[in-house]
């Protein structure tokens, strides 16, 4: 299954955003090079690789052309990427810890992009916090629950991903509860390095690390 190398995956994910922003105007590999810094060769290779994977999977040798002499056509390429990355399924996520950061992510829905089917996408299904007071005050497009109901709610609604926005002190403990509840992936906004079973995918979004990464390039 791990058929697409991590480097290529990351580029494809970013490429999706570029294609989505392009509307449906074709975009050339040279222009993508200007936006990303990757060489146009690399981009074409990535897409070529993608098509090879698809062809091998489907068994169909049906040569489809996703580019034109004017560049790549978003409406043709996007579904291909989505399918190759298995992003054509709708998934539910929740926000855990509704402090400043967590509550910000409660209301930051996604742009109502003209999504070409089959569109996967993500749906905010719940928010959790330890403070009952907060649950009553906050306005939210999704239902809010006290943390002790977390396991039950995650299971009932088949929530797969969690945004971990609790204070550092509670991070590891809360993450373990999420893992026990059967969560599949955690977006970790705390600076804590989480220790979890490999069945749970973790991705860190640490302000200090990001600032450092920028500072290094200055």
């Amino acid at each position: 299954m791990e058929q697409i190398p991590a480097v290529i995956r990351e580029r494809l994910l970013h490429l999706m955003r570029i294609l989505e922003a392009a509307g449906d105007k074709p975009i050339t590999s040279t222009r993508i090079e200007g936006l990303t810094g990757w060489s146009s060769h690399t981009i074409r290779k990535d897409i070529s690789f993608l098509e090879a994977v698809e062809a091998a999977e489907e068994g169909s040798g049906g040569q489809v052309r996703h580019g034109s002499p004017n560049g790549y056509v978003p409406s043709l390429l996007l579904p291909l990427i989505r399918h190759a990355l298995a992003l054509d399924k709708k998934r539910k996520y929740c926000v855990v810890g509704l402090g400043r950061l967590g509550s910000a992510y409660l209301n930051q829905g996604f742009r109502p992009l003209e999504t070409l089917p089959p569109e996967g996408g993500f749906e905010l299904a719940a928010g959790f916090d330890i403070s009952v007071n907060r649950l009553e005050i906050l306005k939210s497009p999704a239902p809010l629950y006290p943390v002790y109901k977390m396991g039950e709610v995650i299971d009932r609604f088949s929530i797969e991903i969690a945004l971990l926005c609790v204070p550092s002190e509670a991070a590891q403990e809360t993450a373990e509860k999420l893992a026990a509840a059967g969560i599949r992936g955690i977006l970790n906004f705390t600076p804590v390095v989480l220790r979890l079973p490999p069945a749970v995918a973790v991705r860190d979004v640490c302000l200090e690390e990001e600032l450092r990464a920028l500072a290094v390039r200055i």
Copy 2:
């Protein structure tokens, strides 16, 4: 100057967090492997590479040992990494756009870690928003200004990095103003793909892209 490969840099940045969390208890490469998924070989090679760079730079052949039979000693290794990545300078940053997300980052200071000198670190120097109303309401550890003063303030306080938290519609325009004001790096929290002169380093933190990256691994 671009002497440290990007792959290694990213790992070293993450390693810093691990070392910082370890207090001053030595940590073995095997344990780091368990926390990160990188092979212990890779970790040792990274550190070995780092020492080679330092040695070449300093000209000193003074063989320093940063590991012990019990593992790496954070207080020895951290300064080395900080120096190699040029993170031993203090830098100022600002938050642009004080909506839910932006105001969250106003108050999320860094943990008061027992920082071993020379510590670089980051200092929040200002916040900007277009709404004067918000500037008056918000509590902030740093002074807040209306956006039209952005250029002046960035220059006066030598602010190098900006957290871009404005609405998507204003992202490109605001980023260009930041570039014109002489900012060196932008942490882009909007889903917009910014187009800026190469003198400005950009790093994206896009919720949807992160969610997708997680979903791919599920």
